[in-house]
């Protein structure tokens, strides 16, 4: 069986899978790429459907992550795409936010750091 003899993580597949989900440690401090709305100076969270046209949050996370890794160009394209899905005079930002997950779980909602990769209005 490939999983047992190979020393590295094998690519996942469907419907035959190695079921690698929830296996890798994410660490306590994480960076989460996302897309937010800035209205009147306030940051508003957007749904996976608005961000990536899917109701699956993990898929939306992958879309944003790939856009951020692609640089300003791809992040900017995603920004414009999301802007087309929201109403009103607002600013959309593609951001990477750093959190201490344990502090967040304790109620500290603000990220330790927020880096804007792309913005559009």
């Amino acid at each position: 069986m490939r999983l047992l003899v190979e020393g590295h993580e094998t690519p996942d597949g469907f419907p035959l899978s190695t079921y690698p989900m929830f296996a890798r440690d994410r660490g306590r401090v994480v960076e989460v790429p996302s897309v937010v709305l800035v209205r009147d100076g306030e940051v508003e969270r957007l749904s996976p459907t608005t961000i990536a046209g899917t109701d699956q949050v993990i898929e939306a996370a992958v879309v944003v992550g790939e856009a951020v890794r692609g640089g300003e160009g791809t992040a900017g394209a995603l920004c414009e795409e999301v802007l087309g899905r929201v109403d009103g005079p607002v600013e959309v930002q593609v951001v990477v936010e750093r959190y201490d997950t344990v502090r967040w779980a304790a109620g500290d909602d603000e990220p330790d750091d927020r880096r804007v990769v792309a913005s559009c209005r």
């Binding site: 996942d12 419907p15 296996a23 969270r45 699956q56 993990i58 997950t101």
Partner: protein, 295 residues
């Protein structure tokens, strides 16, 4: 295994499994119909095909997506009814495989419907319509033959393999450290955080539990014991019942702490192959007979 892999089973047991899987497939694909139709709007730039779609360089045409999405609930119903089973069952398996693999071909592989698809392929090659088919005469639901037993054994083995592989993956990728609870705690925290940041439903219970680090080592051990211990279910009897109860509880816990839903398992459909389903019919018959006598 308690009864041996090729031990005979009643036709009704396999037929009841067919009906349950068909009804689930129909209900699930109907509930997901809007999302499946939306697959046609996915950008081709996100195409990362898996399964049968690995042979295709670009997303299928909108008409193909719509056809799969609309055919899936109908295929599930047709499978449950049992007419033309030798044609319908493989077709249902192919349609559901195409649809579920398509949903996993845009950058994220989902793991909630693997068992459904695998069970559909078992039913596709099994004589699962030799009983409980409306309008068909001459069926013998109580007929006990080898050919009704092996498909249910195979379906059971697939369930066991799924959980065992998941357990192996955790230890292979995470190492023994996965058992100290810190990895699980970070996973629960990260999953809920990501959902909150991306505007999705997350678990208040799981989020609150992150503050209690001591709780995660026992949960980590329990998770790995359930997954690696899955083969005991093949022993039958109390071992089977205990493992199924543990696996179901595991999924209830995942829903409670991470808002991740595995409906095929939580509705119990995934675990039906382990049980003597025909006993449900026997009880219904006895009740009906008793009512007739007392009337």
């Amino acid at each position: 295994m308690a009864d041996g892999y090729f031990a005979p089973a009643p036709a009704a047991r396999l037929a009841l499994f067919r009906i349950a899987v068909g009804v689930y497939a129909a209900g699930w694909s109907l509930a997901r119909l809007p999302a499946h139709l939306d697959l046609a709007d996915r950008s081709a730039a996100r195409w990362d095909p898996v399964g049968p779609w690995s042979l295709v360089d670009s997303p299928p045409a909108d008409a193909v997506v719509a056809a799969l999405a609309l055919a899936a609930p109908l295929a599930g119903i047709a499978l449950a009814v049992g007419w033309w089973h030798r044609v319908v069952a493989p077709l249902a398996a192919a349609v559901l495989l195409g649809l579920t693999a398509l949903a996993s071909s845009f950058g994220q592989v989902f793991h909630t419907e693997n068992l459904l698809v695998l069970h559909l392929f078992v039913l596709a090659v099994a004589p699962a319509a030799d009983a409980l088919v409306p309008g068909r005469r001459g069926l013998e639901p109580d007929a006990v033959e080898d050919r009704y037993g092996w498909p249910l054994r195979l379906a059971s083995v697939l369930v066991v393999a799924t959980y065992a592989l998941a357990g192996v993956a955790k230890l292979r990728i995470g190492g023994a450290d996965w058992l100290d609870g810190e990895v699980l705690r970070n996973l629960v925290a990260h999953d809920n955080l990501r959902k909150a940041v991306l505007g999705d439903v997350h678990s208040p219970l799981g989020t609150a539990l992150v503050g209690h680090a001591w709780a995660f080592a026992p949960m980590a051990w329990a998770t790995v014991v359930v997954e690696l211990g899955a083969p005991v279910a093949l022993l039958g009897g109390r071992w089977r019942t205990a493992w199924v109860a543990a696996a179901w509880t595991f999924h209830a816990g995942v829903l409670a702490l991470m808002a991740v839903l595995f409906p095929y398992q939580l509705l119990g459909i995934a675990f039906l192959p382990f049980f003597r389903l025909e006993q449900l019919l026997d009880r219904a018959r006895r009740r009906s007979s008793l009512e007739a006598q007392t009337a």
